[in-house]
């Protein structure tokens, strides 16, 4: 009888144990989006209200939770520019200037709706704490709060697909409560190596009415790099790491 009671209690408790808490969901989202250390190519497309476009291609490397380098491959006017992020520190290396300049998360190195925090995004769980989780029909709705004042967005509302544990929509808010932008993840694609994630991210902002920016991923794969790659001195040489 005791055994039966124990089994019943275990069965009752199982959903509670199996259910992930908000922090675990966010950590899963981070790992499902990208391996902790990876390399990829991204295309950024800025679309103006008249339909005209400007495109950028970036070669991106990430190591650990908060080290990231993005190198501009195209267009020719921006080729060779490189950005480095270590935690809250961000720098931009412009070949003609020759010296990395400190930049901020709210600026945009491309001039698009995506700002530097989006382009040089590190793990969400490195920057945000989960304040609450609301269960919806197909999604967990995570309310995230920035860990420090250095983070670009004070709060995020993240709708996470329950099945795939991948973000679907993110709304980014300023400390004043103002909606800064909405990010929409689309086109889940198998990149190989166990990486299956959205290949397209679209964003628009009430602050830039009529403008839209799109980010596309290609050749995303798990990679490891030496720590020395994520330093100011290495920025002029990042392009040599490409295969």
């Amino acid at each position: 009888m005791k055994k039966i009671i124990f089994v019943v209690l275990c069965l009752i408790a199982l959903p509670v144990v199996a259910a992930l808490d908000g922090t675990q969901i966010l950590q899963k989202v981070d790992r499902n989006l990208e391996p902790e250390s990876y390399e990829t190519y991204r295309k950024l497309i800025d679309i103006q209200p008249d339909g005209s476009k400007k495109e950028y291609v970036l070669y991106t490397l990430k190591k650990g939770r908060d080290k990231l380098v993005a190198l501009f491959m195209s267009p020719a006017s921006d080729k060779g520019r490189a950005t480095l992020r270590i935690g809250d520190n961000m720098w931009l290396y412009i070949p003609d200037v020759g010296r990395p300049l400190r930049i901020t998360s709210l600026q945009s190195v491309t001039g698009s709706v995506f700002n530097n925090a989006d382009i040089l995004r590190v793990d969400y769980s490195a920057e945000y704490n989960v304040e609450s989780v609301e269960e919806q029909k197909d999604a967990h709705l995570l309310s995230l709060k920035a860990k420090t004042g250095e983070v670009a967005y004070d709060k995020l509302k993240m709708w996470v697909d329950k099945q795939m544990l991948l973000p679907v929509t993110i709304e980014a808010f300023a400390a004043s409560g103002l909606l800064i932008k909405t990010l929409r993840f689309k086109d889940v694609k198998d990149f190989g190596g166990g990486i299956k994630r959205p290949a397209t991210l679209e964003t628009d902002s009430p602050l830039y009415k009529g403008y839209k920016s799109v980010m596309l991923w290609s050749a995303l794969k798990k990679s490891t790099f030496a720590d020395e790659v994520f330093t100011l001195n290495y920025l002029p040489r990042v392009q040599e790491l490409r295969k």
């Binding site: 190519y41 195209s74 006017s77 001039g111 290949a199 330093t231 290495y234």
Partner: protein, 437 residues
Amino acid sequence: MSLSRVSWARRCAPLLLLAAASHAPAAEEYSFDAAEFDKKPFELGGYLQFKQEAFTLNRSGAFYRLGTAGQTQREGLDRSSGTVELIGKLRQGIGTFDFRTHSDVQRDQLAHDSNNLLYEGAYSIRPDPGVTIEAGKRTLRWGKGYAWNPIGFVERAKDPNDPELSREGLVMANGDFIYNREGPLQTVAFTPVLLPVGKDVNSDFGAAGHLNPAAKLYLLYRDTDIDFAWQGRGSRPGRFGVDFSRNLSSNFEVHGEWARIRRFSRPVTDGAGRVATEVYNATSYLLGLRYLTEKDTTYIAEYYRNGTGYSEPEARQFYQLVDTAFAQLQQTGSSALLPKVLALSQGSYGRPNAGKDYLYLRAQQKDALGIVYFQPSITAMMNLQDRSYQLTPELLYTGVKNTELRLRLLMLQGTGQSDFGEKQNSRKLELHARYYF
């Protein structure tokens, strides 16, 4: 409507529908394949630039009179110039040869000139991500200042009017040794340099016959960039310095530089042309900030103390000497003083920013007037001792792929015997169109 028109409309209806559909606001499909960006053994790029400049000459200015002595006097000058810079890379194994060439042609009403220069050309090897060794012609840029760099010990001077302009490098051998770790001290990087100076190599760096050692140690310590720089005595007096840069908040950066040159020597003249050589330990420093507002306006402010520069009374003596030399020429026909004045003007008195205290202020607005990629800015540079200044409004547009259009007006203002009041020009209107390929 006639029958024929109706049948024409019916025949064309599918085409019209197709055309309409192609302009309908449908969900757009995007695709991206990175294969075209694979690393290639040889890469070539660069830019092509056309520049038109209109100078309003400052006929009462000391540097105009010295530059045009004995020539036809003019009110203005129009100059057209074309520039091509080629940037390339050749890779083999762990070695890379990269280069940047600079060619320009310029023509104005007085002269026609052309230059072909190798700005950079160096071979580097990287046996390990933390180790780079290279030799050749290289532009090293040390320091954190935007307009000036007191610790830029092994580079040609930056033009504060165009700080982002590419510059010719110096022939050298240098290394880069990077060490990264966890903890408050995240990065240590050491950059030793050996810079030879001979009759045909780096001859404008200083006295020939020296192999000049220099080094920089970079630290990223508690989110602050710190550099210690040193250049040993040789072609130039020995010097050392330090810089730092740090974000106080996500939109507010502060930076600074400090440099000391041992036994720096410079000529100092009085109004009668008696020149003494002053030798002293010169200390220069710079303090600056960069601030970004919520409306995407960037402010840059820098104060520069130029320890090698001339104070207002010292500069005034030089301008008095210029006046005396021309008065002597006019009254007695004797040009005895002119060669001496010319030599001084081509030396340290004629340097850009030869004064002692400067203030640099710049405000630039991203996407102004709701036009994306349109960036107007205004820059002010002031000699704080004589209160003369230069004001530069500028319009920059980069909305057309690989093209940059820049229009700017440099306006110089100052009384007689002041820094910006005695320059060769009082105004310069400049338009450049640059195409990157």
